[in-house]
Amino acid sequence: MTQPLLEIKDICAGYGERDVLHDVSISVMGGEFTAVIGPNGHGKTTLMRAICGLIPARSGRVIFDGRDMAAMDPAARRVAGIAMVPQGDLLFPDMTIRENLLIGSNIEKSAARRADKIAKVFEIFPALASRQKQVAYTLSGGERRMLSIGRALAADSKLLIVDEPSLGLSPRLVDDVYAALTSLGEIGVTILLVEENVTRAQDFTEQLYLVDQGKVAWSGTAQDVDSAAGILSTYLGA
C-alpha cells in the first residue's frame, strides 16, 4: 500500500461558532480520481476550502504529499501543488483569457516555464487558444469552466480539486467538461472532485465519499456504489 497523496485526518472546520465538518477523514491516492458526493449544504465545499487553507481547521490534520499543511496559507499550498477550480469559477472578469492563465501560472519562476505551461493548457482546451485576447466576463458558461480548469493547470500541481464542475451548465456542456477531465486523467493528473450527481461521480471516479451533515456517512469504490444503493438513496433521495 503506497502513501496517499492527500490525507485528511479527523478534520473539524466551519464558520463562526458553528462547525460544519465534524471529524471528517478522507484520503486521495496519487493518479486516481476521487469524488466527494452528498446533498447540498452539508460541507462538501467547506471541506475543499479547508484543504486549500481558505478556512482554518479547528482540529485534525491535512497531510499533502507527506507534509502537514497546517501552517501554510492558501498561496503556499498552491506552491506545494494543490490547484483549485473553485465553485462558480472565480475568474478575473476584466482580464483576458491569456491574463487569467498568466495569473494561474504566476508561481512558475521563469517566463519560459510559464509560456510552456500555458501552451499545454491551450493543447487541452483548443477553444481557448484562438481567443486569447477575449475578456473573461464575455465568455459563455462552458468556456468559463474550461478557463477556470485551465487556469488551475497553468502551474505545476499534483492535485486538482474541482468543486462542482457541472454547476449551472447544460447536460451537453457537462459532458464536454467531463471529457476534458477524463483526458487529464490520461496524462496522469490526480483529481478530487465534488459532485452532487452520484451516477456522474460513479462513472468518473475510483473512490467515493458521501459527506452528510458534516460527516463521512459512507465511502467505497465505484463498484460498491450499486450494492450500497439503498444507503445512498436515503441520503441523496435518488
Binding site: R78, L90, F92, L102, I103, A155
Partner: protein, 292 residues
C-alpha cells in the same frame, strides 16, 4: 484667442496635476478598497521631503521629486502595516478605515506644522523661465508638469498592464480569493499598491507646491479635487479618472477666467452632484459593480 490659449495652458496644467494625484486615490480604492483620507497628508509629506532634501541636505532640487516619492511611499506602506492591515475584515471596516486615515492625516499634518512651522515656503524643485505661445506666457514649470504627468501615467499603465506585479494587483482587485488560490501573495501585493499610491501622492505634492507654495495644509484642496474626480469618474476607474481630471482642469480654468476663482469648486461640485443623481455610479462606473 488669447484667452482660449490662457485657459488651455492653465487648464491642462491643472488637469495634469489632478491626474497624478487622483491616480493615487483611485488605485487605493480600486485595488485594496481603501478610501484614503490621508491622501492630502501624503502630498504634504512629499512636498516637504523635496524641500528638505534640497534646502537642508543640499541635494540638487530636481532629485526632490524622487525623495518625495520615496518618503511618501514609505509613509503609505507604514500606514498599511501599522494600522490599516488590522482593520481589514472587521465589521464596518470601510468606515473604520475612513476614520483611521482621517486621524493619520491629522497627526501627519500636525507633526509637519510643529516641525517645519506654519509659514508657506517656496518649493525649490521648480523651473524658471518659459516660452510664449502667441502672446501668452507659458511658464516652463507648467510644461514640465504636463510632461511629467504624461510620463508617470504611461509608466503606471505599463506597470499595471504589462508586468507580473501589475497583473497581481489587478487580480487581487478583481477577486482576491481567487488570487490567493492562484498562489499570489496578497500581503506583498497590498504593500506594492500602497507604495505606488504613496509615491504618486508624494510626486503630486511636489507638483502642487511648485506652482503654489508649500504649507502644512496645502494637501487639502488637491485631496478634495481628487475625491471629486474619483467620484465623478466612478470610484476605482483609473482610466476614467484621467479623462475626468483633464476635463475638470479645463472646466476649472474656464470658470476661474470667466466667473471668478471662488466659484470654481462650488460650480464643479454642483455639476458632480447633478451627475451622481443621474448616474449614481459615476461616469465610468459599471452599474451594480459600484462598491458599498
Amino acid at each position: 484667442m488669447e484667452s482660449i490659449i490662457q485657459i488651455f495652458v492653465s487648464g491642462l496644467t491643472l488637469g495634469a496635476m489632478y491626474a497624478v494625484g487622483t491616480v493615487s486615490l483611485s488605485l487605493l480604492w480600486g485595488a485594496v478598497n481603501v478610501l484614503n483620507m490621508a491622501h492630502g497628508a501624503l502630498l504634504v509629506i512629499g512636498g516637504y521631503a523635496s524641500w528638505y532634501t534640497a534646502t537642508r541636505l543640499g541635494i540638487p532640487p530636481f532629485l526632490g521629486y524622487f525623495s518625495a516619492a520615496l518618503v511618501s511611499a514609505t509613509m503609505a506602506v507604514l500606514m498599511y502595516l501599522l494600522i490599516l492591515r488590522w482593520l481589514k475584515g472587521r465589521r464596518g471596516a470601510d468606515v473604520l478605515i475612513i476614520v483611521a486615515t482621517f486621524a493619520i492625516a491629522m497627526i501627519l499634518e500636525n507633526v509637519v506644522l510643529n516641525v517645519f512651522g506654519g509659514y508657506a515656503v517656496a518649493q525649490p524643485a521648480k523651473l524658471s523661465g518659459g516660452v510664449y505661445i502667441s502672446s501668452v506666457f507659458v511658464p516652463a514649470q507648467n510644461i514640465l508638469i504636463m510632461v511629467l504627468a504624461l510620463v508617470l501615467m504611461a509608466l503606471l499603465a505599463l506597470i499595471l498592464q504589462r508586468t507580473a506585479l501589475g497583473r497581481s494587483i489587478r487580480a487581487v482587485a478583481q477577486n482576491s480569493q481567487a488570487a490567493v488560490l492562484m498562489g499570489i501573495k496578497v500581503q506583498h501585493t497590498y504593500i506594492a499598491v500602497y507604495a505606488i499610491a504613496g509615491a504618486f501622492a508624494g510626486f503630486s505634492g511636489v507638483l502642487w507646491s511648485s506652482i503654489s507654495t508649500l504649507s502644512p495644509t496645502m494637501g487639502f484642496d488637491p485631496m478634495l479635487k481628487a475625491f471629486v474626480i474619483c467620484v465623478a469618474a466612478g470610484l476605482g476607474q483609473i482610466g476614467g479618472a484621467l479623462a475626468v481630471a483633464i476635463l475638470l482642469g479645463l472646466a476649472e480654468a474656464a470658470i476661474q477666467y470667466y466667473v471668478g476663482v471662488r466659484f470654481a469648486l462650488p460650480f464643479l461640485l454642483l455639476a458632480v452632484v447633478a451627475l451622481l443623481i443621474v448616474r449614481p455610479q459615476g461616469l465610468f462606473g459599471i452599474h451594480g459593480k459600484a462598491r458599498q
